[in-house]
Amino acid sequence: MSEPDLLVAILDDDADLATAVARLLVRHGHRAQPFTAPQDLLCAMEAGEWGCVVSDIQLGETDGFAFAEALRRRDAHVALVFITAWPTTAHAVDAVRRHGGLDYLEKPIDEARLLAAVAEGLAWSAQGRRGAQVLAMLTRREREVFNLLVEGHSNKEIADRLGISARTVEDHRAAIVAKTRTNGLAQLVALARAEASGRHP
């Protein structure tokens, strides 16, 4: 299930391959665009919501991993899928652990696996963005109350911690629930987790 408003970028210095993969993703209902130069993609990121980037590791002179870091600094909620013609175990572990890649595919690409990775990436990205958007609506005080709530503290404990009355805490809590449109503490916790995972993939 793809997120209709999030874009997928394909970055590979082989133009034919980038185009072929983009068209493949379009056939499966995604909005995808091919890129051959890392700079072009970084510029394009300003104008548009990118959910997932499928990138080669060797991009001419640029190192795909280094580029991925730069990308992440611009937008923390972009999912990364790496593809390469030089798969080694060390790189695969690197890709997933350090650079926050969701998957690491070797060429020729396994289509089913690519589609699964992109779908997962888009879902993850959407969730992270939602979380961030929602939490951005909270005031500073509400944010403080929210953080303590999802850690499992009671209203009384929160009141003591923040030096405010229990009544004030309840007011903040009501505001949080209204703004986030959640239904219960469990959903608040899920929201907190989604937002956190966006910051620390």
């Binding site: 082989d14 391959l17 072929a20 013609a85 798969p87 060429k107 020729p108 690409i109």
Partner: protein
Amino acid sequence: MRRAALIAALGLLAPLPAAAQSAPWIWPARGVFGLESTICAPGAGGEPTASVAPALCPALTVQWQAGLSDAFVAAMGRHFKQVETTPGEHAPPAMGVAQRLRGTLVASLRVSRVDLATVQRPTGVEVFLPVTLTLDITGLASGEVMFTRTRTQIAQGLRYGRVAAWFAILAEMALFLPPSALMLTDAQRLELHLGLAAAVLVTWLAGSFADAQAAARRALDRRNRLLFQAERLKTLRAMSVAVIHEISQPLSTLAIEANHLRAATASLPAEICGDIPQSAALVDRKARTLADLVRRLRRFGGREVDTPSALPVDMLIDMAQRVVLPELRRVGARLEVVVVPPDLVVQAQEIELTQALVNLLRNAISAAPDGLVRLKAAQAGDEVRITLRNAFVPEKQGGGQGMGVGLIIARTIVEAHGGTLMQEENGQEMVFTLRLPLAGGL
């Protein structure tokens, strides 16, 4: 680790001029060592260098020692062609001292024990004479002891009543003293016994060193062969990795588009589009085959070469079994392994050899119509024979179990290990026989 030192010594001798043989020269040192300080003749240091029964002191005469030394030199001469009477004499005079000395090993004989024990029997007194000798082989240039072996020989004799009638039976040798020996005094007889025992011992020691040398040389040859093959394999892989990388780029696009064309044309009406769907399907199939091939070749080429080490065959088979387990489950096949003797060991690059066996197993699993593959390993002389058999139906189209890149890779790996891979089709069964030299005796 002495073996390693010996191998190193053999290796060091390689730079000798072409006329010289690869085996070292041996100088057997005359004289018997170890008797410098005993209960018979305490040395200045105080610490005894050999343990001697006091009753035997008279027997350890100068003549006895000389006889033992002669027997030692003679034994070494019988076992080794390259024996020197003075160290370094084989080398041309122009050769430097250090190099000359490097080509020689010193063989010396040491006594550590000469003992006497008696047991009272109804028929007489049974006498036991254990003699312990040690052979030391030392590098003349380095002074390092490269080989040492100690053994005890027991001479046995029986003394009947008052008349000194001795019958000597040397343990393990069934040697009898000549009848004239009956005329000897006790002391003389003891000396003779000891001499015989020591002679037997010395021959055994010399032989054991000769055996050790031969084994070390074989190990060195085998290691050199393996290293050479490993180098070849490394070059082959490096080349294939580069080629694979280049090919996989355009192949990636090809595979995606071929799949798309196949899907898009699959339901086109034949009246209008003729055999376009079939063409597209064929192109897609071949593209998939290519993609699969590239992935498998890449797995072969991409790894770091590990160094050869001793690998038990049962461990090899166990690992291969584990790797193919998912395939077995998926296809519903069964692998029957006859219990492998645990003492079979080969010298191998573990990952490579496992890969070879896995390739063969995979081929067999996909080819067997009844899903049964049988695996057996047994020793045959100085090699191990691993047989893989499965039921087999000749394929209608080409590319059956007897062909394919997996088999080529398996064969390359096996041959790089100094072995052979043979394929035999008898009637309805396909049999693969993998032969590898055993690593025993290292």
